[in-house]
Amino acid sequence: MTGLGGGLPHPLSPAGIARTARIGVGRVAYEVRTYFRQLDQVLFTFLFPVLMLGIFASVFETMTFPDGRGGTTEIAAAEYYLPAMLASGILLSGVQNLGVDVAVARTNGTLKRLAGTPMPPVAFLIGKIGQAVVTGLAQAIVLLAVGVLVFGVALPTSAGSWATFGWVFALGTVTSALLGVALSRVPRSGRSATAVIIPIVLVVQFASGIFIQFSLLPEWMQQAAQALPVAWMALGMRAALLPESYAMLEVGESWNLAGVGIALGVWLVVGLIAVRLTFRWIRRS
């Protein structure tokens, strides 16, 4: 009577890992497809930073940005807000999207159904993280295109800048996705998920200099925000896209990319541990 359900390799054997990877990749395609079929996701997660870029760039079109020493810079609003909205998009595609999505899946029966199948939980998570990366990347491309085509932002041409963009985006998005999955345990039901997750995301963005220039925030808020990953994502994006000379606007008057890497790396590990400790298909009673 043993081995009746057999035919599957042990999850930690090489064949088992290959199976998990194969299912996970298939799951990414499934997750991306279903993401774009949900109008609310497309409007409030995917297009929201694009909309905000349009608003900020138009409203502050004539505004000048202080250089932090009593003078002003030449920087245009669209130019300043493009990296901020890229960081915002990373946060929305990961934390907001998955925080709500996984909380809803937990209460609408999706996770219960998957729990009854031989779906490896890791493959499911690869699907969700992959969804955040693919949709986040599409969102970044839309943002960059709108920035260039509509608001005439000049993008950097050096390979170094795009390499910075690449690693900040990848590290930021995976971290953000993991934190989203972990945060999905906070709402008590799928129905309350947006009410719980969206204010968190919004407040963190204000405190992290997404909507308001970071150097204008009170020092205590800057310090609090630097304990969270979002300010670092935004800093990394500014480092990638703004001209070198604008580093003088930053804390310590440098891009501090080492700080970006360390902060996001630490939060990546925090996210992995939190997901490992909190993610369950269902709570068995």
């Binding site: 009577m1 043993t2 081995g3 009746l4 359900g5 057999g6 035919g7 599957l8 042990h10 999850p11 194969r22 299912i23 298939g26 799951r27 499934y30 497809r33 279903t34 079929r37 949900q38 809803v104 609408n108 029966g109 999706t110 219960k112 159904r113 729990a115 009854g116 199948t117 031989p118 779906m119 490896p120 269902i282 068995r284 009673s285």
Partner: protein, 285 residues
């Protein structure tokens, strides 16, 4: 002895003070279809969810496909097909996408097109599940339950909300699965469904097994004594007898042609209701 796919002995489940199941024993042999019947709240769903690994038991012994569901892993689930009582919120994926994704999880899955044909969803394969009618969604649930070619299929109230025609089509689908050798545990509120599909019936009433047997034998011969019903004046009278012909002859001799004469052989539903009623009285006594 036939291969036992399910063996339950003295199963007990309590939530604090509340006892949901008290000493339930049952078994299912390979190739057999067992119908689990009982009033709402009697413990059917608790029993089936313990067998599926969704709930933990408080006492007794449970073996499903040779393993304890509480500790079984992903490989064990590859031998199961689960159609939950409520499938939760319908997916925005299409029927085909959902089936393909599930098929990829199993070592020996059925061909997706064959499954679509078997449940009569070929015409709807490209439609989003959420856009299908309730009856078609339930067929999609069943398709998802069988695509992994399970050895043991759980069907928890699979035809709730079906019209008469859809129910008959569903029965012929189940018969074809039975012909393929699939072992099935079915719960239903439709006694005729149990009579049509089950090899054996177990009635759970008041948290215990109240009766067990083949559909045409459960409850004993006594329970199947024909009933003669007629009207005398304004009163509808009925009498149970093993010799209904003789009783009718005596009625004709006494009354002439009796009004509203009926000779009824108790259906499975009548027998079932007797079992449940007797059990309730016993519990009260």
């Amino acid at each position: 002895m036939a291969n036992r796919l399910v063996e339950v002995q003295h199963l007990r489940k309590s939530y604090g003070e509340h006892v949901a199941l008290d000493d339930v024993s049952l078994h299912i042999d390979e190739g057999e279809t067992l119908a689990l019947l009982g009033p709402n709240g009697a413990g059917k769903s608790t029993t089936i969810e313990i067998l599926e690994g969704y709930r933990v038991r408080s006492g007794g012994d449970v073996r499903v496909l040779g393993e304890d569901p509480q500790h079984a892993g992903v490989a064990w689930r590859a031998g199961l097909g689960i159609v939950l009582q409520s499938s939760g919120e319908a997916s925005v994926a299409t029927v085909r996408e959902e089936l393909r994704g599930l098929a990829a999880l199993f070592p020996d899955s059925r061909d997706v097109d064959e499954v679509l044909a078997a449940v009569g969803l070929e015409q709807h394969a490209g439609r989003r599940i959420a856009s299908l009618s309730g009856g078609l969604q339930r067929r999609a649930d069943v398709a998802m339950g069988i695509v992994g070619r399970p050895r043991l299929l759980f069907l928890d109230e699979p035809t709730t909300g079906f019209d008469a025609e859809a129910r008959r089509e569903f029965w012929s689908l189940i018969r074809s699965l039975q012909a393929d050798g699939t072992t099935i545990l079915l719960t239903t509120h439709y006694l005729e469904e149990a009579a049509q599909l089950a090899d054996r019936i177990v009635v759970i009433a008041d948290r215990r097994v109240a009766a067990e047997g083949a559909p045409d034998a459960i409850g004993g011969a006594e329970a199947r004594t024909p009933i003669v019903r007629w009207r005398e004046g304004d009163v509808v009278r009925e009498q149970r007898t093993q010799d209904p012909g003789a009783l009718v002859a005596s009625l004709v001799a006494r009354l002439g042609e009796p009004e509203a004469l009926e000779v009824v052989r108790p259906s499975l539903e009548d027998v079932y209701l007797d079992i449940v009623r007797a059990d309730r009285e016993e519990a009260r006594a």
